[in-house]
Amino acid sequence: MLKGKTPEEYIALLEEMERNESRDLAFIDMVRQKTDEALSSSGTEALLAMESLFSEEPARTILARSAELLKLRYLITAVRNEQALGLPLLIRDIDSCDALLTRYDEINLMLRRIELDLAPLDEEALTYLREHRISPYCVSAVLYNMISSTGHREHVLLRIAEDAMDHGAFLDAYGFLNVIEQPSPDTVALKNELQDALTGGGSA
C-alpha cells in the first residue's frame, strides 16, 4: 500500500479513503450478498461470473484495500481451475460467503503450520487438507498471492505432496508439485519421475 508513495501522497490516500468509505463498504457488501446467493442457490456458474465484478473501476481500487475481496477473488479463480479439470469443487459443502472466507483462513493457517514444521500441529494440518480434499489449485491460490505471508512455499508444497504420496494419492501429489512456482532442480526431477511413473513413460 505504501509502495512508491511519498508521505504526502499517503496522507492524500487516507483522505480519499475517508471520503469514499460509504461507496467502498457498499460495494463490499454487494459482493458479499452476491456470493451468498451464488453459494446458497444460484450455483457455481453464478459464482464464477462474479470475476467480472472486479475488473472495472471503482472495483479495482476497492479490491486493493479489502483483503476480504481479494480472498474471494483468489478462491473463485481456484474453483474455475477445479471445474476445468473435473476436481471436487472447494465450494461443494460451502453455502455462504462467511463460510467461504473461513475456509480460506483455515487453509492459510494450516499452510503456516506446515511452513514452520510445528509438530504436532503440522500433521493435523496435513490431515485437514487431505480430509477436506483441498485441491492444489486452492492451496496455490492461498499460498501464491499478494496478501499471503506464508514463506518457504516450495517446502510447504513438497510436504503436502509427500503426504499425498504416503497416502497413495500419487495424482494429487503430482498436482501439488505441479503448482510450485520456480521449482528447484530437485523438485523438477521429482516431478518428472512421478509423471513418468503415472504415465508409464520414462526410459526402460
Binding site: 483483503a67 473461513t102 503456516r112 505471508s149 514463506g151
Partner: protein, 481 residues
C-alpha cells in the same frame, strides 16, 4: 507465588484467536512465571477493550508495582519464537526504565503522525525461503529507543491507562500509549532481532477508513508538545542503550545471576533407549550429562514391536522400562510429551525407524518426528563393529552390509551422528555421499563425527559409581546448536 505474563487480545474471529492461542501455548515459560490469557470479544474500541482486560480506567494513575507483564496482541499475531518470554524478561530485568517493548516502530515520528512514514526499526516476518531460527538472548540485547511502536504486539511492564477518551476506534491507540508511557517516565524500545519473533498476518491490506480521523486527534493531542519526538539521532540512542563495553560485561554477569536466582532451567538432554540390553551404548554419556551442572539428563525408554512376515507391526507392545538398572531414573512415555518439553538434544541409538524387517519402534519415535522436537537430534549406534577401511578392496562385503545401517532414517535425519572412529566416519561419509550425490558431501561431513562410542568406556563394577564418565560429552557439547 508465580509472576504473570498476561496476554490480552480483542477478537472478532474465533478461528484466528484459537490459532493465536495455540502459538502462545507453545511458548517456553520461564521458571517462576505463568501465563494468563484474556480475550475481549465485544470491545467498543481497542482502548476500551484493553482497559477492561487490564482492569484499568482512563482516570487511573499509572501503576508500576506488582503489575503483570502484559502482552497486548492482535488475534492475527502468531508468536513463532518460543523463547519470546525469556527474551522479554531479559530486556525488562536489565532495563528497569523500559515501560513498553514493541516488535516494530520508528525512532523518529514523522510530522504527519503516520509512524511508518518515518524510518522503521524492528523485525517483521516476510515471505522468505531463508531458514528461521528461534533466537534466544543469553546476554543483554541491543535495543533501539523509539517514538512509537506498531500495535500488533505491545509488551508493557506498567499499567498506564489506554486513552479511550480520545481514541474510541481501532486506530492510534498504540501510538498514543507510547506517548503516555514516556510521559510516565518510562522508555519505549524495539529490540534488535535477527529473526522475527512473530508473524503478523494482517492480509497486508489495511482498511484504514478511519485512520485519518484519528491521526488528526493524535496530532492535536500530542503534536505540539515538546516530547513529540524522542530523539533526533537514532544511532546515538542505540549507543546509549548498548552502553560502554565494561558496563555490558557487568550487566551480563548480573543477568546471569538473575537467571540463576530465577532458577534458570538446565538444558535437557533426552535419552531414548529402545532395548534395555543396549543401554550400555548410552550409559557413560548419560552419566557425563547427569554430572554436568548446566544440563539435566532424562531417560525415557521407548516402546517397540516385532514385525510379522508382511512387515506389519505385531500386536504386542514391547516396553522394557522395568529392565533398566535401578540407578537409572526413567520416565514413562505415557507421562512425557517430547513436543511440549522440546529438549535441547535427543539421543537415539536405534536408527532404523520403519526400515528394519524384524522390529520397529512406535512411529511417534521415528527420527523424522523427533527431529521436529529438538534442535539437536543425536544418533549414536547401539553397536560397534570391526574397523572398516572404505578405500580397501578387501572390505567389499562389510561395505555392502554397511548400507543396512548407514543409509537409514536415523542417520539421515540426525543433526549429529557419532561413530566409533575417524576411519568409520570416512566410510559413513562416502556411503552417504554415494547415496545422495556429491553435492551433499558437505552435509555428511558436517554431521558425522568420529568421536568414539560409549561402548568403549570400560566400567569397573555394577553400581552407578562404577560407570565411567564418557569423554564424548565434552566434544558433543561443543557441537550442539
Amino acid at each position: 507465588m508465580k509472576r504473570i505474563f498476561h496476554f490480552i487480545a480483542c477478537s472478532n474471529n474465533t478461528l484466528l484467536m484459537d490459532e493465536c492461542r495455540r502459538y502462545i501455548d507453545r511458548l517456553f515459560v520461564p521458571e517462576g512465571w505463568r501465563i494468563e490469557v484474556t480475550v475481549i470479544t465485544d470491545a467498543k474500541s481497542m482502548c476500551e477493550g484493553y482497559n477492561r482486560a487490564a482492569v484499568m480506567h482512563p482516570d487511573d494513575p499509572p501503576r508500576t508495582e506488582d503489575v503483570p507483564v502484559r502482552i497486548y496482541l492482535h488475534q492475527d499475531v502468531y508468536l513463532i519464537n518460543r523463547f519470546f518470554l525469556h527474551n522479554l524478561l531479559m530486556i525488562l530485568q536489565s532495563h528497569p526504565d523500559i515501560g513498553l517493548i514493541g516488535m516494530a516502530g520508528t525512532p523518529q515520528m514523522h510530522p504527519s503522525g503516520v509512524w511508518w512514514n518515518g524510518e522503521g526499526v524492528g523485525c517483521l516476518y516476510t515471505v522468505t525461503d531463508d531458514p528461521l531460527t528461534e533466537e534466544e538472548y543469553t546476554s543483554a540485547p541491543a535495543l533501539t529507543e523509539v517514538a512509537s511502536v506498531d500495535g500488533f504486539c505491545m509488551v508493557t511492564r506498567a499499567d498506564i491507562p489506554w486513552r479511550e477518551d480520545l481514541f474510541d476506534g481501532f486506530d492510534f491507540y498504540d501510538v498514543s500509549l507510547c506517548y503516555e508511557m514516556r510521559r510516565a517516565g518510562l522508555r519505549v524500545v524495539v529490540p534488535d532481532m535477527r529473526h522475527p519473533w512473530c508473524v503478523h498476518d494482517d492480509g497486508r491490506v489495511l482498511s484504514l477508513y478511519h485512520y485519518n480521523h484519528y491521526r488528526k486527534i493524535f496530532l492535536e493531542a500530542y503534536g505540539q508538545k515538546e516530547d513529540f519526538n524522542v530523539c533526533t539521532d537514532h544511532d546515538s540512542v542505540k549507543e546509549q542503550l548498548h552502553g560502554p563495553r565494561d558496563l555490558i560485561s557487568s550487566l551480563d554477569e548480573s543477568l546471569r545471576q538473575i537467571r540463576e536466582s530465577l532458577g534458570a532451567k538446565k538444558k535437557e538432554i533426552l535419552f531414548l533407549p529402545c532395548k534395555a540390553s543396549c543401554w550400555n551404548s548410552m550409559e557413560s554419556l548419560w552419566k557425563a550429562v547427569n554430572e554436568d551442572p548446566d544440563y539435566e539428563a532424562t531417560v525415557m525408554p521407548v516402546p517397540w514391536r516385532y514385525r510379522d512376515e508382511l512387515l506389519n507391526p505385531r500386536d504386542t507392545l514391547q516396553y522394557e522400562r522395568e529392565l533398566f538398572p535401578d540407578y537409572v531414573p526413567t520416565v514413562d512415555y505415557h507421562d512425557y510429551s517430547i513436543a511440549e518439553s522440546y529438549p535441547h538434544a535427543i539421543v537415539i541409538h536405534n536408527p532404523y525407524d520403519e526400515c528394519n524387517y524384524a522390529t520397529t519402534v512406535e512411529p511417534n519415535y521415528y527420527a523424522r518426528i523427533l527431529k521436529k522436537c529438538t534442535r539437536n537430534l543425536i544418533y549414536i549406534p547401539w553397536f560397534v563393529t570391526d574397523e572398516i577401511d572404505y578405500d580397501s578392496d578387501e572390505n567389499n562385503k562389510m561395505l555392502f552390509n554397511m548400507r543396512y545401517y548407514v543409509t537409514v532414517p536415523g542417520v539421515v535425519h540426525s543433526d549429529l551422528v557419532i561413530v566409533q572412529s575417524e576411519q568409520m566416519r570416512h566410510a559413513y561419509i562416502e556411503i552417504l555421499t554415494g547415496m545422495s550425490g556429491e553435492d551433499r558431501r558437505s552435509v555428511w561431513e558436517e554431521k558425522v563425527r568420529g568421536y568414539g562410542s560409549p561402548l568403549f568406556d570400560r566400567r569397573n563394577g555394577e553400581g552407578y559409581e562404577e560407570i565411567p564418565v564418557s569423554p564424548l560429552w565434552q566434544r558433543i557439547k561443543e557441537d550442539l546448536k
